[in-house]
Symmetry: C2
Subunit: 236 residues, 2 copies
Amino acid sequence: MRKNKAYCTDENWSGRTDCKHCAIRSTVLFSVLSEAELEDALREIDNQWVEAGSELFFQDTKGQYVYTVRSGCVKMVHEIGDGSCYRIVRLHYRGDTFGLEALLGEPYRHSAIVLQKADICRIPVSTVQTLRTRNLQLYKQLILRWQATLDEAEHFLVDLNTGHAESRLARLLLKLDAHNERHLIPDLLREDIAAIIGVTTETASRLMADFRRRKLVCDETNRQMRCDPGALKSLI
Amino acid sequence: MRKNKAYCTDENWSGRTDCKHCAIRSTVLFSVLSEAELEDALREIDNQWVEAGSELFFQDTKGQYVYTVRSGCVKMVHEIGDGSCYRIVRLHYRGDTFGLEALLGEPYRHSAIVLQKADICRIPVSTVQTLRTRNLQLYKQLILRWQATLDEAEHFLVDLNTGHAESRLARLLLKLDAHNERHLIPDLLREDIAAIIGVTTETASRLMADFRRRKLVCDETNRQMRCDPGALKSLI
DNA sequence: CGCTGGTTTGACATATGTCAACAGCCGTGG
DNA sequence: CCACGGCTGTTGACATATGTCAAACCAGCG
C-alpha cells in the first residue's frame, strides 16, 4: 500500500506531534523547494513501530538511511574483537538522530538495536541530499545532531564509566529517568546494563537486585520500573 | 607586530606544509570570495607554538575560537564533580580540529590542555562564519571534523575503557604510536595515563614501570619513549 | 643544598571478576 | 495438560585486579 502523501506533511497522520524535534521537519520550514518537490522528497521517508531487539543496522556495514527516534529507545552496540564481548556506546531517545555516518558514505560504526519498542523514522540519504543542496538550514541542523551525538558519547564515558559500579548504575538509572517524562524506565537486560557501565553481567545483576531490596527501584508492569531519583543522587 | 599576509596564504611562511589537513585550507580552494576578501578573513587566524601544560580553553566557558593541531598533541580534560577528579575524554593530534562547540555558540565541553609541545592554529568563529556563508564545501569539512571527533571519543570508550588495565594501557601506547610517524611517543604523566584508561595514578605507575621492565617500552631523550608494537599487540 | 613534584613500591583492603549452581519464566512439543 | 529446554536473573564461594594509604626515591631547580 503506497501512501499518497509523505508522513511528514500529511495533516491526517496521527503521529505528527512527535515530529517537532525532527531535523527534517525544522528545516522544511526554510526550504526553497516547491510543495510538489518537497512532497516527492519526503515520500521516501518511512515510519514504523519497531519491537525491542530488532536490529536497524549492523556495525561495519554500509547503509543508505539515517534514522530518527520518535519514541522509545535505541542502543548503539559496538562489538569488540571476535564479537564475544560488546559495549554499548550510546543510547538514543525521543528526538535523537542516529546513523549519521551514512550521510558521509561511511559504514555504520556500531549496530543499532531497539531497546524499548520504538517509533522510528527511516530517512534515505538521498532525501537528505536533495534537501540540503537547496537549503543551508539543514546543514546547521545536521551539525547540531552530530554535536548531540558527541555529547551523549562523552556522557557515557564520563558519567557511566567513571567511579564505582554502584554510582555508575545510579547515574544510568537517573539518565534513563530524565529521558522519560512519565518516569517509567525500561527494565534493561542485565547484560545490557553490564555493557553500558562496563562490568560483568553478574555484577550488574547483583547491583540491580540490591537496588531493588533497598527500594531504590521498584518494578512496574511491562518490564518497566520506577526509581527514586533523590536516593539515587545521594549515591553518585 | 602585525603580519601583512595571512599565515594560510603566505607562501613565505615556513610552516605551510602542515596546512594540508586543515579544514580551512581545503575549502579555500572552492571559495567564491575574492582574493582580497580571503586575505582579510584569514588574517585573523593565529598560529603559535604552545608549551606542554598550557590551557587553550576551559570547560564550561564560552569562547570565540576553534583550533587545529598542526603538530603535537592536545588533551581534552573533563573535570568531574568538585574538580578533585578528572577524565581525559579525547586526544587530538596533527590535523585534528577541536573546540567545535564554539561554532554553535556553546560553551566548551572540556578544557583543552597541551600534552606535548604543539603547533596550534587558532581560528576565530567569525572567520569560519564568513567563509561558510559563501561556501558549502566548508560545511562538509566541518561535518567531517565532527565525525572524526566522535570517532575518537568512541574509541576512547571502546578501546581505552574496556578490558583489563594492562590491555587498556597497551592500546593507549599503540594509539599514541600510530599517531607519530617517527615512532616517538610522549612519556605521559602517570596521572594523565590514569585519567585516560580510568584507573588510579598508582596503578598507572605500576603498569608503566612493569612495561619498562618487560622492555615493552624504553625511554628516549626529552620525555619521549619508544615502544614495541608487536609485543604490545599480543597483550590486547 | 634542601625543596618540590612526580614516580615507584609495599602492605593491605576491597570491589569486581570468575565459575558454578539454582530458580523463575516462557514457549514448544509431545 | 505437563515435561522439557532455553533463556534470564539471582546468589554463593572464591580468586584476583585494582584501590588505598603511606613511605621512600628521584630529578630538576631555585
